[in-house]
């Protein structure tokens, strides 16, 4: 609590013992004891050695941590500061630079990993989430509207394509704007009853909205295929050239005189989502500097002040919902096209939670942060696949730890949308 200088050993021991006791209490019911079905009823099994190990690890871990903390705090103490309430940063060239590196990497990735379907495919997933993150960022990061049902718009996009393509034979490119429009419409539909709501009230309504869409998709079998979902959704073609083994229709491989390989499509899909995501980025970054964008942020900061300045808060909020939803819809179309199969299971609440986590972990309002967060949240569980049982356990723990490590998000600072040269570089006081 107080500015602790390095603690004497006795205190540190005491502290570690205290934490050890907590670990013991936490461990007894979960590690020390367990129940198992031994034919005909539960029996209690004990695992005291496991518990002892756990408590030991926690105890010594705490000791070491304490030591590390007090060791480094000595230096930190001299410049102990409280973070400014809101940080605005003028120029951070390294961020731009980092962004460029990321972009360059994204462009060469399929070349660098050519033939490695898994990497390219995972990268495609990352990019879908990046796009979703950028879309949700409009609603949550900029306009400050907590949306826990974003997946609904993603679903609207995906089902629009799924249905239009399988029922009416529409292609990917024709569907894209229509699905975006549909999603935007749903955005307004959701936005309208929630205009007066704040904070958690908004959160539960959006969550409910997402669930309503999902439940309708599950139950309205005639329309959506119900739990079976929609099958055999056509894959996007390369300007009319299909990615198929040579056959009667013109194919990509035949046209370019290549040997057919399943990787062509994977690579094509990757570049497709890359382009879509980059367009999203340009679109959102530009919007943010336009009056609407500034109004979004202003509404987030203080709705009443906005009204007093003559800003139509309703319109501003609805535009944020509509645009965020539209981007989600685009991503949905791509998702359906890539998977070839969609079912309501892909649009559950935890999906919304992941997208929201990407936005928050990235740092609200930071475009680049979203990229890193998406990378982290997609790749972490992928890496964890080898841990099998422990995969989600580690994922959950990582989510907590990252948030605790960087409470403001990975890229926490907000870049002003407009700047002027001010007379004389400013010191601390006016």
């Amino acid at each position: 609590m107080s500015a602790a200088h390095s603690l004497p050993l006795a205190d540190r021991l005491k502290d570690a013992v205290r934490i050890g006791i907590v670990a013991l209490l936490l461990g007894i019911p979960m590690l020390g004891l367990t129940t198992a079905d031994q034919g005909g009823g539960l029996q209690v099994l004990t695992r005291w050695p496991l518990l002892a190990q756990f408590v030991g690890v926690v105890f010594f871990g705490r000791l070491i941590l304490q030591w590390l903390v007090s060791h480094f705090q000595l230096r930190k103490l001299q410049r102990q500061r409280v973070a400014a309430k809101t940080a605005v940063v003028q120029q951070r060239p390294w961020l731009k630079w980092l962004g460029r590196v990321a972009l360059a990497f994204a462009i060469v990735l399929p070349m660098a990993f050519s033939g490695n379907r898994y990497v390219i495919d995972t990268a495609t997933t990352v990019l879908i989430y990046v796009m979703l993150g950028w879309g949700l960022n409009v609603v949550v990061g900029l306009a400050g509207l907590l949306d826990l049902g974003y997946v609904a718009f993603y679903a609207v996009g995906a089902y629009s394509y799924g249905l239009l393509s399988t029922l009416f034979g529409w292609g990917f490119w024709e569907t894209l704007p229509v699905a975006g429009g549909m999603a935007a419409l749903f955005g307004v539909l959701l936005g309208w009853p929630t205009l007066r709501l704040r904070g958690d009230y908004l959160a539960i309504v959006t969550l409910g909205f997402g669930e309503i869409i999902r439940i309708i998709l599950v139950n309205w079998t005639d329309f959506s295929g119900g739990p079976n979902g929609i099958n055999s959704i056509p894959r996007p073609s390369f300007f009319g050239l299909e990615f198929k083994p040579p056959g009667d229709t013109p194919t990509f491989a035949a046209f370019f005189h290549l040997e057919y390989s399943a990787d062509h499509r994977v690579t094509f899909l990757y570049y497709l989502i890359l382009v879509l995501a980059l367009l999203t980025n340009v679109f959102v970054s530009r919007l943010r500097r336009l009056p609407v964008g500034m109004a979004w942020e202003a509404v987030r900061e203080d709705e009443l002040a906005c009204k007093a300045l003559g800003i139509n808060v309703t319109g501003v909020k609805l535009s944020a919902y509509a645009i965020g939803a539209m981007l989600g819809g685009f991503a949905g179309v791509f998702f359906a096209a890539r998977q070839g199969f969609i079912s309501p299971e892909s649009f559950v609440f935890s999906e919304s939670a992941t997208i929201l986590a990407i936005v928050v972990l990235g740092g609200r309002g930071s475009q680049l942060g979203v990229v890193f967060a998406a990378l982290l949240l997609v790749v972490l569980p992928e890496l964890g696949r080898d841990f099998s049982d422990y995969r989600m356990l580690l994922f959950g723990a990582a989510m907590v730890l990252i948030m605790v490590w960087r409470p403001g998000g990975l890229v926490a600072r907000r870049e002003p949308t407009i700047q002027i040269d001010t007379p004389a570089a400013q010191g601390a006081t006016p």
């Binding site: 958690d200 723990a397 907590v400 403001g408």
Partner: protein
């Protein structure tokens, strides 16, 4: 007629369970001013603990029902509040000064963690316990439909009401309750008045966890089957209940829970059970359109 009354009983019981979880939820909300997504999982942890405790009781041959119930409650409350404390300490306290969304995300992470921790350490299989309090009252029979009221249903409703009254008193009448509310509204100012914000928040989490623990025990005794994944749905329902009633208001949480319980039970008895959640959320949205701060929540008149 018989069916109607039966659904009333069922709906009230279900609502009481939601309300009980929502009480803890709303209490924690009242202090950190944000959704505690891990609350449902705390409740799940307590349900698992009470399964272990119940099994232990029968292993030790303790068979007097009141004694078993009391011991299980004590054990579950004790251990679960340590979990509440630990969750707060690791996932919330470091984020005291961050934006409102940061703890929301760490709570989601914590919820994933707890769920999988239990899955790994206790196994993925469902855990059944024998019926502790069998039987009930046969109220009446109407057109060949006999209306049942189980003893556990009575117990759940009574426990919920008692806890609601007790905790409402705690929050609105006592100095500790005032300190809690102060922490929610302005933590810095609260500490300037001498309030140990960290401690107050820790205690509140422990109380919230204790409420979840009671809910966990009740559910284990009532339904007899629990597993590591029960936290999620319960958490969402409780969250909905709390919001419907007005977050921060304990009677509101109770009312919200009961309303949702009734909507669900009547909707599924007379209309299509597939769409009962749609009905719940639609009614929630409707209510909030006209009362943006829930049924019993005090409207936020912002003076400018």
């Amino acid at each position: 007629m018989g069916q109607f009354i039966q659904q009333l009983i069922n709906g009230l019981t279900l609502g009481a369970v939601y309300g009980l979880i929502a009480l803890g939820y709303t209490m924690v909300y009242g202090i950190i001013g944000m959704i505690n997504f891990a609350h449902g999982d705390i409740y799940m942890v307590s349900a698992i603990i009470s399964v272990t405790a119940l099994t232990l009781m029968s292993a030790f041959g303790i068979s007097s029902v009141p004694l078993v119930l009391a011991l299980v409650l004590i054990i579950a409350i004790g251990f679960t509040s340590v979990y509440g404390w630990a969750v707060e300490r690791t996932a919330y306290r470091p984020l005291r000064n961050a934006s409102r969304l940061a703890p929301l995300i760490s709570a989601i992470g914590m919820s994933i963690f707890l769920q999988n921790m239990v899955q790994v350490s206790q196994g993925a299989r469902v855990k059944p316990v024998p019926t502790l309090i069998p039987g009930g009252l046969e109220l009446f029979t109407h057109n060949g439909f006999s209306v049942h009221l189980a003893y556990t249903q009575i117990m759940i409703c009574v426990v919920t009401v008692v806890l609601m009254v007790a905790f409402t008193g705690l929050i609105t009448r006592t100095s500790f309750g005032r300190q809690q509310r102060a922490c929610e509204q302005d933590r810095t100012m609260a500490s300037l008045l001498g309030i140990d914000v960290d401690k107050t928040i820790s205690y509140t989490f422990m109380l919230g966890a204790a409420l979840a623990a009671v809910a966990g025990v009740m559910v284990t005794v009532y339904y007899g089957v629990v597993d590591f994944s029960i936290g999620f749905v319960a958490g969402i329902k409780a969250f909905t209940a709390a919001v419907l009633g007005g977050v921060g208001s304990l009677p509101g949480a109770m009312l919200g829970g009961v309303l949702i319980g009734l909507i669900e039970s009547y909707w599924s008895a007379y209309l299509s059970p597939e769409y009962k959640d749609v009905a719940t959320f639609a009614i929630l949205i409707l209510v909030l359109m006209f009362r943006p701060s829930g049924l019993l929540g005090r409207p936020e008149v912002e003076k400018v």
